[in-house]
């Protein structure tokens, strides 16, 4: 190294900065849903193979996060929510993010193929490609439907977990995919309603910016109505059961009520109470997804004792 001035050292990254490239919070959701997908499958997996598979799915998801941060460094720098990410903050260079993203992508796919099977690895490769190329590079800055289609990337992990165990795709795994896929739009649009300005400044075409807030409220309601039959339908399959179904009916009624509340309000009402309804629906949406998958896990556990299920 020939460049030895002090400022070059000031920005040298610690281990945590590289770890932050992998979007640990998104990763935790990926680990949880992949774990549920693997565990509720009718085929049992050796714990070590299961552990390795979940690890490689998580690394693959993290790699696509690093590729996203490499490509989006310019808009991340403009938005308050993302300005402190390692690349826009100057702690890690964009080239390093690209190198880490590519290396970990290849490594995770190859090792998932070796630990589990080719189908699971293929699904993981497609997920990384979909998130990094289709969503980040093509859709995000181009269409207000970005998060609808991009939501597919977040919806794949339970399907990959299922494929690790069974080596196949089935109605159950497609419905788990559909649950996250349909849940993503109302979840993110509720956030976009009260995170005003950020996406505007970065010129990302969020629905709130391109079509206005009234249209966004309508969209939240429509997607929530479409989400309900998926969530209930999953309860009628082989991985569902009375416990899941009862919880799903309650949560979907509550989520639907929240979507109707958002739909009935206008900006004056929302401004008056600082977006209370929107914020509470957003918070509940996180619990909603967590509990649906949690209940699938409860059903799988009960089945182990000869209870639950249909």
């Amino acid at each position: 190294m020939t460049d030895t001035n002090a400022s070059a050292f000031q920005h040298e990254a610690g281990f945590g900065d590289y770890f932050a490239l992998l979007k640990p919070r998104v990763m935790s959701l990926v680990i949880f849903t992949a774990f549920v997908g693997l565990l509720v499958a009718p085929v049992s997996v050796h714990p070590v193979i299961g552990l390795c598979s979940i690890l490689f799915i998580a690394i693959g998801a993290g790699a696509s996060g690093a590729l996203n941060m490499w490509w989006d460094a310019d808009i991340d720098a403009v938005m308050k929510r993302t300005a402190n990410r390692p690349v826009p903050a100057g702690r890690v260079t964009a080239d390093e993010a690209l190198a880490i993203g590519l290396a970990l992508s290849v490594m995770s796919v190859v090792f998932l193929a070796l630990a589990a099977n080719i189908l699971a690895a293929g699904l993981l490769a497609f997920t990384i490609f979909f998130y990094a190329v289709i969503y980040t590079m093509l859709l995000k800055r181009w269409t207000p439907q970005n998060i609808v289609i991009g939501g597919a990337a977040g919806a794949f992990p339970p399907m990959i977990g299922w494929a690790v165990a069974t080596g196949g795709v089935s109605l159950e795994s497609v419905l788990m995919f559909a649950l996250i896929f349909m849940w993503t739009p109302p979840h993110f649009w509720a956030l976009a309603l009260f995170m005003k300005g950020d996406y505007d400044k970065a010129r990302v075409p969020m629905l709130t910016v391109t079509h206005g807030r009234r249209v966004t409220r309508n969209h939240i309601l429509v997607y929530t109505v479409l989400l309900v039959p998926v969530a209930i339908g999953l309860g009628l399959t082989s991985i569902g059961g009375p416990v899941y179904l009862a919880a799903a009916v309650l949560m979907n009624a509550w989520f639907l009520k929240g979507a109707v509340d958002i739909w009935r309000r206008d900006e004056t009402a929302a401004d008056a109470d600082a977006y209370r309804t929107e914020k509470s629906v957003f918070r509940f949406s996180i619990l909603y997804l967590f509990l649906h998958f949690g209940m699938l896990l409860v059903e799988a556990t009960l089945r182990g004792f000869g209870l639950g299920g249909w």
């Binding site: 050292f9 610690g14 281990f15 050796h46 070590v48 390795c52 630990a115």
Partner: protein
Amino acid sequence: MAIKAEHEIHKRRFSRNLGVGLALTGFAALMFALSIVKITSLGGPIQGFDHVARPELTEIVK
């Protein structure tokens, strides 16, 4: 600015080296465990042929 033996930058480098070291060690251990599981699940003996003759691995010709 006084020259200190231990600058903050050294701590950051140490964290990076330690992190990479632990990640690699953990990875190697996990791969070893995975290999054992995969090999034993095949049902055969865990030892393989080496440069030394291993009579217990050869089939007996009748």
